[in-house]
C-alpha cells in the first residue's frame, strides 16, 4: 500500500534524517520525498511517500513522536489529522 504523508516540521539540521530513519526502521519503503522550507525558514513542509504492508498507523504514531514534527497528515485517509 502506498501512503502520502504531509508533514510540517521544525527546520533543524537532522529533521529529514530522523523521518527517514524512523520510516526505514519501522519497515516502510520510501517512494518519494519533497521538502520546501517555509517563508520564515523556521519550519519545513515535507511530503513523504511510503509503501509498506503494515498498517500505516504504526508509522504515523512513531513519526508523530519525533520532537521536530509539528503536524502530520495522512493524505486521503480518515484518521488523517494528528496535530502535535
Amino acid at each position: 500500500m502506498n501512503h502520502i504523508l504531509h508533514i510540517t516540521a521544525s527546520n533543524t539540521p537532522a529533521v529529514v534524517e530522523r523521518l527517514l530513519q524512523v520510516t526505514r526502521y519501522r519497515g516502510y519503503q520510501l517512494t518519494g520525498l519533497q521538502m520546501t522550507p517555509r517563508a520564515d525558514s523556521r519550519s519545513v513542509a515535507i511530503r513523504l511517500s511510503v509503501s509498506g504492508d503494515k498498517p500505516i498507523h504504526l508509522l504515523t504514531s512513531q513519526l508523530h513522536k519525533l520532537y521536530d514534527v509539528q503536524q502530520l497528515e495522512l493524505a486521503g485517509s480518515e484518521l488523517a489529522v494528528l496535530s502535535a
Partner: protein, 551 residues
C-alpha cells in the same frame, strides 16, 4: 561568562548534584569550568560505565541522570548505555563535546557524527550551533527527558560554543517543568464496563505505572477491583507485598501461575506495559481469550502489537481511579490462588552446592528494607526477578529492553550516589561483571559501600542454557572456566571479599557482607549445570513452559 560555565550553571538550576563522565580534548572547557563548580563530578573509567551510572542514578531516584563525554571515542562509548536508557525509558541527559565548528565536516581529530549516531538511541538530540541557544537547548533537553514517556536526550556542544563568551542574564523562571500530558478519559466508561463484566480479569503491570508516580493509585485500584496481578521485569515491586492476589512476573521466565492466569483470563488490563516479545511469547497465542484494556502515556504503544478493546492515553494517576468499576470474581481468585500454591517455588535442592535461587531468597530476606538491587544480564538476572521481593520498582534495577551485560556494577554506583542512606547491592554474573569491571576503580576512589555479589557458574550461563536446550549441547564459546580470581581482583581495588561454594556458608557470608561498612565482594560459586526454570521456548505459547522436570 563562557559557554562552558553556562553549561554547569544550567545543570545547577536543574538541581543536578552529581554527574558522571570522562574528559578529553573537545570537552576540556567544560571540565575546566567544573574545576571550580559545586556540581560533583564522578570520574568513571569508561564512558559506558559513566552513562550506566547516570541510568542507575535516574532509575533509583526518579530524577534525570547526567553524563558527559568528549567527542569521537568518548561519545561512541556512550551509545550502548543511551540505547539501554531508550529501551527502558530512563530520563538521561548526555552532554558530549564536539570539535570546533570551523573544522566540523573535515574528519578532524576525534570528530565523528555524534548527532547522526544519536538518532536511533535517543528520544531526541541536539547540536548546539551558537552559545546564545545553549541555555535554552539544555533546558529543552531536561524537559524532553522527563516529559511523557521519559528517555535519553543528547546535547552535542562544539568546542567553540563552550569557549564563546556571553552576557549571561539569569532568567526569572529557570526551572523547566516537564510538559504535562493530555489525558483522555473518553474510553473510561467502556473500560469500566469491561471490568465490571469480566469473570477472569488480570492486571498486567509494567514500568509505566511507577514512572507515572501512580503506585498509590495502583494499590487503590487493586483493592477496589480485586483481581490477580502480574508484573513485567521493570515493574517488579509495583504490587504491595501484602496483596494476596499477586502472581509474580509473567513471560519467558515468569512464574507458571502468572503465565497460566494470563493465558486463561478473559480481560487483560495492561497498565504502562507494551506487550514485549519476552512477555508475550508467541503473540498469536498470547492471552487468546482476553479482551484488552491498554493504559499508556505513549500513543505509539496502543495497537502496536496487540489490539486494545479500550485504550486510555495519558496520566496513569488520573486514569486508574477513572476505570475502577468493582469486580466480582471470587471463583477466579480462588483458582489463581490454587495455581500460585500448586506452582510455588521449591528450594529443597539436594546436595551441598549453593543453589542460586535459594541464596537470592536468603539475600532478599536479609537485606535491609528499601535496599536497591542492580543486576546484570543472564540467568542470575532472571533468578533475581524470580526469587527476590522488592517494595518498589526503584529498588530493582535491571536492564530490561536492551538486556545489556555490564549494566549492574555502574548502575549500582549511580544508585548509591542517588540514595546514600540505602544499601545498594549488585548481583552480577561472572561474564557480565567483566564487562564494566573497571568501575571498581570508581568504587575505590569514592569509597562507595556497594555490595557486589558475583554468581559464578564459569559460563555465559544464559547462552549455555540455550545451547543445551536448542543447539544440541554444542557449547560454542560459552566456557569461562579460566575466570580471574574475583576476590583477588577486588583486593587490587582495596575491596575486601570472600568466596563461598557450599550452602551452609551462605548465611554467615551474607552476614559478613552486610556487617562490613564499606564495599565488599562476595564470590558465590555455583554448579555450571544449574539452569533457569520455567522457560517458554522460542515460538511457543506461554502455557507451554518447560520446567526442570520436563527438560
Amino acid at each position: 561568562m563562557k559557554g562552558a560555565e553556562l553549561v554547569l550553571k544550567v545543570l545547577q538550576q536543574h538541581g543536578v548534584d552529581s554527574i558522571f563522565g570522562y574528559p578529553g580534548g573537545a570537552i576540556m572547557p567544560i571540565y575546566d569550568a567544573l574545576y571550580q563548580s559545586s556540581v560533583k563530578h564522578y570520574l568513571c573509567r569508561h564512558e559506558q560505565g559513566g552513562a550506566f551510572s547516570a541510568i542507575g542514578y535516574a532509575r533509583a531516584s526518579g530524577k534525570v541522570g547526567v553524563c558527559m563525554a568528549t567527542s569521537g571515542p568518548g561519545a561512541t562509548n556512550l551509545i550502548t548505555s543511551l540505547a539501554d536508557a531508550m529501551l527502558d525509558s530512563v530520563p538521561v541527559v548526555a552532554i558530549t563535546g564536539q570539535v570546533s565548528q570551523a573544522v566540523m565536516g573535515t574528519d578532524a581529530f576525534q570528530e565523528i557524527d555524534v548527532l547522526g549516531l544519536s538518532l536511533a538511541v535517543t528520544k531526541h538530540s541536539f547540536m548546539v550551533r551558537s552559545v546564545d541557544e545553549l541555555a535554552a537547548t539544555l533546558n529543552d533537553a531536561f524537559a524532553i527527558a522527563l516529559s511523557g514517556r521519559p528517555g535519553p536526550v543528547l546535547v552535542d556542544i562544539p568546542k567553540d560554543v563552550q569557549l564563546a563568551e556571553l552576557d549571561y542574564q539569569p532568567e526569572a523562571t529557570t526551572s523547566v517543568r516537564p510538559v504535562p500530558v493530555a489525558t483522555s478519559l473518553a474510553n473510561a466508561a467502556k473500560a469500566r464496563a469491561l471490568i465490571a463484566g469480566a469473570k477472569k480479569p488480570v492486571a498486567y503491570i509494567g514500568g509505566g505505572v511507577h514512572m507515572a508516580g501512580a503506585m498509590p493509585q495502583l494499590q487503590q485500584f487493586l483493592a477496589a477491583n480485586p483481581m490477580p496481578s502480574v508484573t513485567t521485569l521493570k515493574a517488579m515491586g509495583s504490587v504491595a507485598k501484602d496483596n494476596a492476589h499477586y502472581l509474580g512476573m509473567l513471560g519467558m521466565h515468569g512464574t507458571q501461575a502468572a503465565n497460566l492466569a494470563v493465558q486463561q483470563c478473559d480481560l487483560l488490563i495492561c497498565l504502562g506495559a507494551r506487550f514485549d516479545d519476552r512477555v508475550t511469547g508467541n503473540l498469536q497465542k498470547f492471552a487468546p481469550l482476553a479482551k484488552v484494556i491498554h493504559v499508556d502515556i505513549d500513543p505509539a504503544e496502543i495497537n502496536k502489537v496487540r489490539f486494545a478493546d479500550a485504550a486510555l492515553l495519558g496520566d496513569m494517576q488520573q486514569i486508574l481511579p477513572a476505570i475502577s468499576a468493582g469486580t466480582d470474581c471470587a471463583d477466579w481468585l480462588n483458582h489463581c490462588a490454587q495455581l500460585k500454591q500448586q506452582y510455588g517455588w521449591r528450594y529443597d535442592h539436594p546436595g551441598e552446592r549453593i543453589y542460586a535461587p535459594l541464596m537470592l531468597k536468603q539475600l532478599s530476606e536479609r537485606m535491609p528494607d528499601n535496599s536497591v538491587v542492580a543486576c546484570d544480564v543472564g540467568q542470575h538476572q532472571m533468578w533475581v526477578a524470580q526469587h527476590m521481593r522488592f517494595s518498589h520498582p526503584r529498588n530493582h534495577l535491571s536492564s530490561g529492553g536492551l538486556g545489556t551485560m555490564g549494566f549492574g556494577l555502574p548502575a549500582a554506583i549511580g544508585a548509591k550516589l542517588a540514595r546514600p542512606q540505602d544499601t545498594v547491592i549488585t548481583v552480577t554474573g561472572d561474564g557480565s561483571f567483566m564487562m564494566n569491571v573497571q568501575e571498581l576503580a570508581t568504587i575505590k576512589r569514592f569509597r562507595l559501600p556497594v555490595k557486589i555479589v558475583v554468581i559464578d557458574n564459569q559460563r555465559l550461563g544464559m547462552v549455555k542454557q540455550w545451547q543445551q536446550l536448542f543447539f544440541n549441547a554444542r557449547y560454542s564459546e560459552t566456557d569461562l572456566s579460566d575466570n580471574p580470581d574475583f576476590v583477588a581482583l577486588a583486593a587490587a581495588f582495596a575491596i575486601p571479599g570472600h568466596c563461598i561454594t557450599r550452602k551452609d556458608e551462605v548465611e554467615s557470608a551474607l552476614e559478613a557482607m552486610f556487617t562490613w561498612p564499606g564495599p565488599y565482594l562476595l564470590h558465590v560459586c555455583i554448579d555450571d549445570k544449574d539452569n533457569v526454570w520455567p522457560l517458554v521456548p522460542p515460538g511457543a505459547a506461554n502455557e507451554d513452559m518447560i520446567t526442570e522436570a520436563k527438560a
